[in-house]
Symmetry: C2
Subunit: 126 residues, 2 copies
Amino acid sequence: MPDTDGSHVSHEGAFEIAHPHRELLDQVLDKWSLSVLGELCERPCRFNELRRAIPAVTQKSLTATLRRLERNGIVERVLLSSRPVAVEYRITPLGKTMRPPVEVLLEWAAAHMPEIERARRAFDLE
Amino acid sequence: MPDTDGSHVSHEGAFEIAHPHRELLDQVLDKWSLSVLGELCERPCRFNELRRAIPAVTQKSLTATLRRLERNGIVERVLLSSRPVAVEYRITPLGKTMRPPVEVLLEWAAAHMPEIERARRAFDLE
DNA sequence: CGGCATCCCGTAGGATACTG
DNA sequence: CAGTATCCTACGGGATGCCG
């Protein structure tokens, strides 16, 4: 990989991780976000619909996750009616752009899981 | 749609996230891992070399990160000499396979950062 | 229904000191 | 140099209860 014109910043194999990017990924790839995103990519969901779809999440964590995703412009909170309160969560266009990177990640995880489990067992033996 | 263990990735618009995969991503995309990986993709590094390259990391967290990555087969700990102790960390072939997915992710973050910051400001105003 | 408020605990992870 | 050992704190996040 000669990189003859040298216009390009990163040399050879390295990737830098800027702090704002790191922070963003933390917000958006945290414990429950991917599950929520997975659901909302499929269809808009009500709050309790999401709870049922992701049984392991508590109400508190789900609220926090949705607020965080909303704040970052990834999901949208739509008030359907105010009496009784009815809310729907939808993925935004920006949120949809996360799909390809996330899928690449999941494919990597799926592809290398066996190798990684072998590595773990080997490590844990010593 | 049974498939509770969800090893199956995509039908139409949704992505499922299986628990082993979620756990793996947590181990491998955590606070310091990407910075470490970035360094080690460039060249093998000594422990204190990594500390200097990533000034914000504490010794304890760096040790933990390296152990975790080693356990998952992503980096390799090479004992160069035992008196005085000299250790070198290297990325493994498995570790190198993380590069493309990580770069896709970083490119996503870089590309959409402005839009996300706008969303945050808008959200924080209310 | 869609939350917020409160309590409570475990753990990640920083600071500091010491060791082979 | 490359850690281990302690101590300590913040915070994620579970459980429970209440409310418009």
